[in-house]
């Protein structure tokens, strides 16, 4: 794609930026996807550990059940 729309559209195919760099873009996206899972799982595990540490005693759980019975 050039810098003008003064073209016959029958001759125009892909028009997105960085044409030819699709593989690199996809690899970067896949890395971002895997990293997201690693971060998310760590975050979730930490949250549960903190919840148990702060509220997870028998008394704490009974209090939580009284506060939020349903």
């Amino acid at each position: 794609m050039g810098s003008t729309w003064a073209v016959d559209l029958a001759n125009i195919g892909p028009v997105y930026p960085w044409l030819g760099s699709e593989l690199i873009m996809v690899i970067v996206a896949i890395v971002a996807w895997i990293l997201w899972h690693i971060l998310q799982i760590r975050q979730e595990e930490n949250e549960y550990a903190e919840d148990i540490k702060e509220y997870g005693s028998k008394e704490g759980i009974k209090k939580a059940l009284d506060e939020h019975p349903s």
Binding site: E22, Q40, E44, H68, S70
Partner: protein
Amino acid sequence: MGNNLDALTTIFTEFYYWVTVVFMFLIHVGFCMYEVGVSRRRNHLHTLMKNTMLIPLVTITFYFFGWWIYWALPNGPWITGPLLLDAAAPNSPVSQTMGTNLQDHITGVFWAAFLLFSWTVASIVSGSLIERVKSGAFWVIAIMIGSVTWIIDAAWGWHPQGWMVKVLGYHDAYASGVIHAIGGGTALGVLIVLGPRLGRFMADGTPRNFVPHNPWLVTIGLFLIYTGFWGFYAACNVPIISPEGIGGQITGATWTATTIYLTPTTLSAITVNFLMSLSGGLMVAYIISKGDPFWTYSGGLAGVITASAGNDLYHPVQAFFVGGIGIWIAYKLHYWVENKFKIDDAVGAVAVHGYCGFLGCVFAGFLLWGYPSSPYEGFATINPLGNTIGGFIMFFVLGFVPGWVVAKILDGAGLLRVPRQVELMGLDFRTLHEEEEARQEVRAAEKALV
């Protein structure tokens, strides 16, 4: 686009699939509302986020590899032929047809229609696992079914050249097996490893009733799923194609709508059959559940799911009875399995999607026995054995087994189930606790101003 008719057909097809995608979005809205309504108040935020976040995760992975699988694996591979690398190439994430490309109006929107099927199949599993599965674990399972296993089954049994269609005569026009049976089978495999919610069963094995916190949300959610299902049905069709475009045995020049197999049907017929099977499911479910709203609404869905495999060809009365029989069997099976094996399926997904999906394949095999499965030469005709084997592949081989194996791996790594204390407190405990503290602080500040 060679001439004006070609251009019009292409733009119509592009717009047609776009409309189905928007409609199908309502399925996900409905599933979210349904799950949140069924969950207890102390778990509803976790439940909502669990289902919501499968949207981006299944989307990007379906873009990375799911769509490629559909086009590469119709032969197995190596059952009826090799990997179809040439056919798959334009559908890979690095293909120039996946970006803005003025020569291709269909690949992207067709990808999107299939993607919405992927969300649906992952969402079927989601509801079963609520209130005790870790979000991270569920999202791995969602990607497995949404971007890998279901799309393998689609390549095998829901592609004009799929090996199951060729060899078995497998026919599943609106996805009884390829979406619903695999979804229910996967849910069952995961549930066996995950176990029931704490307190769900008494010491003697009698189940306790975990009351939905908001029945209105449940019913509106199911209504929305019905609505989205219209889009789903339309999306399973090719809206308009010429016999020349099909390139099979059909003679003459009459254009037609077709199923995904390129066998002729009409949008009109599938609309009538959708409604008749919905009605059969609702009516039988109402009677067997004695008017229970949860089962009545689910029964409507189950009716459609059971008839879906053959709703391109059934007579409306056949669709009606197939729908009714499907929910009757699934309802009985649900309670038998729950009591016998202590399976805690919070939303009845294994029954409504899994059992009804499998039954739908079996019924279609009998009712459509002898019909051609394809417009092309050399394909087996539709038959009971082929469709039963096909349903088994969907429910058990590609559904139950991968679900059980991946759940076992996650469980072994300690990633599957939330800790016992957190489950008892409620998965939203911290958020609810902090919100209550914030409310109290505001109230105290306001009182100080009196």
